[in-house]
């Protein structure tokens, strides 16, 4: 059942996920389209998330946005200071300016980066974990996650464990999606695009997620006729043979990556599975470290030791 509606307000609206926004276009959503979509969202009881471009949006759009309760996702380089201050989630597409940014406890932060650059910013992430309550790291080159990067990624994640333990021990329960989410979750908590979330693109049509719009996939409905996702069962966990037996609960299970890598929205490529399992295994080590520092910490939670990095190896027929 669809619960969330994501609305990139323009073609250059900030990406908060794996995809890149469309280069060279700043086409903005039409006000009438937006108005209709928000009325529809209210009737469907959807939570709405707006994605803003760096230059902000015009007054007309602002007025319509404020007719509905919503979440603002704003780029860190947004030139509209009020918009940035009011953001619920701030997105960094570059490491420039991170050190001097005025982080606040009531905002969540997303850093979009390639794996190699991330690995090289270990100190920066460690410092950031002391400043924020919630940090999501989104790797933008998952399809390039080759075996040469596996050890580096694992070492990077494990290098963050002492910092997180230190923060928890001092009462600062910082959340880092790659490490702490798996500890907190009791079941798959994935992106769920096409199943729980839908996107209204600047062209006025519905798409499975922003990535499908920016990557040129066909729309799955119009604001006139409403969304119509064909084969909707394939977006559900029950119809994903690899994912439904997996316990890397923090995995994004990105259906766009699935489509890119395997041609099927319900089947992840090896890169996504291995990356998620390296995170899962590092989370297991984090849990052990937290229990050493704080005996009895989340005593009900068990993350089993496993010998594989790709659940496909366990089920291929």
């Amino acid at each position: 059942m669809i619960k969330y509606l994501i609305i990139p307000l323009s073609d250059n609206a900030v990406s908060f996920c794996h995809y890149n926004a469309r280069k060279g276009s700043s086409a903005t959503i039409e006000t009438e389209t937006l108005r209709k979509a928000l009325i529809w969202a209210m009737k469907e009881n959807l939570s709405v998330q707006f994605l803003y471009p760096s230059e902000g949006v015009g007054k007309n759009i602002e007025l319509i946005i404020n007719t509905i309760d919503h979440t603002d996702i704003v780029p860190a380089d947004c030139r509209d200071n009020n918009r940035l201050k009011g953001a619920d989630i701030v997105v960094f597409n570059t490491w420039d300016g991170i050190e001097t940014f005025g982080f606040r406890p009531d905002q969540s932060y997303i850093i979009r980066t390639t794996t190699e650059i991330l690995i090289n910013h270990r100190d920066g992430i460690q410092a950031l974990l002391k400043k924020v309550n919630r940090l999501n790291i989104v790797v933008t080159d998952v399809p390039n996650f080759n075996p040469e990067l596996h050890n580096g990624y694992q070492e990077f994640l494990e290098s963050l464990i002492p910092t997180i333990v230190e923060e928890y021990s001092s009462g600062h329960m910082v959340q880092l999606n790659l490490l702490t989410d798996r500890i907190m979750l009791t079941g798959m908590n994935n992106c769920n695009a096409g199943n729980e979330s839908l996107t209204l693109a600047p062209d006025g049509n519905f798409y499975t997620c922003p990535a499908f719009y920016f990557d040129g996939f066909p729309a799955v409905g119009t604001t006139e006729q409403g969304p119509d996702i064909k084969n909707p069962q394939l977006y559900r966990l029950s119809h994903a043979p690899i994912c439904r037996i997996c316990d890397a609960y923090q995995c994004k299970r990105c259906v766009w990556h699935n489509q890119q890598l395997t041609f099927e929205v319900n089947t992840p490529g090896k890169q996504q599975c291995v990356m998620a399992h390296i995170e899962r295994n590092a989370s297991r080590k984090l849990l052990e470290a937290l229990r050493k520092a704080m005996p009895g910490f989340m005593s009900e939670t068990i993350i089993q030791e496993i010998k594989y990095l790709d659940p496909f190896d366990n089920i291929k027929i």
Binding site: K230, H239, T262, F263, E264, N266, G269, K270, I315, I317
Partner: protein
């Protein structure tokens, strides 16, 4: 049932062999009306360079092809149009597997599905003689002349002309070389009235095994299922009353079909797409020939690699994790007569609402129901006959 009833032969090294298909040409002498190959043409012929590169890639990646045996399959169009190329490929495979001490060196078959038209040509016969102990050949003949000629017509403009006479003349030669040779019969809507006479005709030609199936495409008209059931019932009567079941087999009748399937225990995929490998003239790899462009009406091809870059294992993951229930609608999962209801992954993909192999086409549903009813009749009647014959009083034997 005991061995008095002839079983269908299983495929050579069934389940133990890798099937590798060379699409050597997309040309054919015929233009069969039911042919799923919508993109046949005379231009796309495999070159020796592409074929060699494919063999080299496959043999160099022995770790990815660990099946104990291999079936090197050659299809078209009509494969024997490219007999020179095929001969060269087969020679190369034999010498290379020997040179590399490859585990397939002495565990291989060369397999052909042919329309049979140039089966008696000198080149084809020379090839067969050279490789006889490692060859499987199936000639497609659809039954009686009127049934065969209804669909299997010569290519070209002008009035339709059936190919029966050009094929049937080669059946004796073929059966003399492959006495257990089987044929493949395809049933479309227009063929239904001729099923009974066609199967009996093929038996009369000496073909002991008739593998027959209805097309998976959505071509069925109202009433086809009734007519189909009627034909199969009449065929059942003939087979049983004349004792043909002792020496001949027809794949329409099987004890295993028409039973419910357990969602967990009987969850395997029907189709082998993804476990096979198909190569076309451009050097592209496919999970099965049905995913090549010339086989698809509505969808783009699914290319899983090529002879230069190799196989992209990510593209195989959907095929290798696909199970029955994930792709089936609820009515199929709950179906009381599900066993034996087949599907073609390529047709599923081609007919699906989205670009997925995970949506099962149910176009043959009512035909399966009809088949199961006739099949039940066949086995009930046959069992009863065997039972009555077993209980016949025999002549008393004087113990002294």
């Amino acid at each position: 049932m005991d061995s008095i009833i002839k079983d269908l032969d299983t495929t050579w090294q069934d389940g133990e062999s890798k099937n590798i298909t060379f699409i050597v040409t997309k040309d054919c002498q015929l233009a069969c009306k039911y042919c799923y190959l919508v993109g046949k043409n005379e231009k796309e012929r495999m070159t020796w360079e592409v074929a060699k590169a494919a063999v080299d890639y496959i043999l160099a990646h022995e770790e990815d092809f660990q099946e104990p045996s291999v079936v090197w399959d050659f299809i078209g169009g009509e494969p024997f149009l490219e007999i020179d190329l095929i001969d060269r490929i087969c020679d190369y495979i034999k010498t290379e597997t020997f040179r590399l001490n490859h585990h397939w060196f002495d565990s291989y078959r060369f397999s052909f599905s042919t329309n049979g038209i140039n089966y008696d040509s000198e080149k084809v016969q020379r090839f067969i003689t050279k490789n006889h102990s490692h060859i499987s050949v199936g000639i497609t003949i659809d039954g009686t002349k009127r049934k065969h000629d209804l669909n299997r017509i010569w290519k070209g403009d002008g009035p339709e002309k059936g190919s029966y006479d050009a094929v049937v003349k080669n059946i004796p030669l073929w059966l003399s070389q492959f006495p257990e040779g089987s044929t493949k019969v395809t049933i479309s809507s227009a063929d239904i009235p001729y099923i009974r006479e066609s199967v009996l005709h093929l038996y009369s030609l000496g073909i002991k095994e008739v593998n027959i199936n209805v097309v998976f495409e959505d071509v069925w008209n109202d009433g086809d299922d009734k007519l189909f059931e009627e034909q199969l019932t009449l065929l059942a009567d003939d087979i049983i009353e004349h004792g043909l079941y002792k020496n001949y087999a027809c794949s329409f009748f099987s004890e295993a079909i028409g039973k419910p399937l357990d969602a967990q225990l009987d969850n395997q995929n029907w189709c082998g797409a993804g476990k096979m490998l198909s190569i076309d003239a451009a050097g592209n790899f496919y999970p099965c020939t049905r995913f090549a462009g010339y086989s698809l009406r509505n969808k783009r091809p699914i290319i899983i690699g090529n002879i230069t870059d190799g196989i992209d294992s990510n593209k195989l993951r959907p095929f290798l994790t696909l199970d029955r229930t994930t792709q089936s609608p609820q009515k199929c999962i709950d179906c009381e007569i599900a066993s034996g209801c087949a599907w073609c992954q390529g047709e599923n993909y081609d007919a699906a609402k989205t670009d997925t192999i995970f949506q099962r086409s149910t176009a043959i549903c009512k035909m399966h129901y009809a088949r199961v009813r006739a099949n039940n009749y066949y086995w009930n009647k046959l069992f009863r006959k065997e039972e009555l014959e077993a209980n016949k009083p025999t002549q008393s034997v004087n113990p002294i």
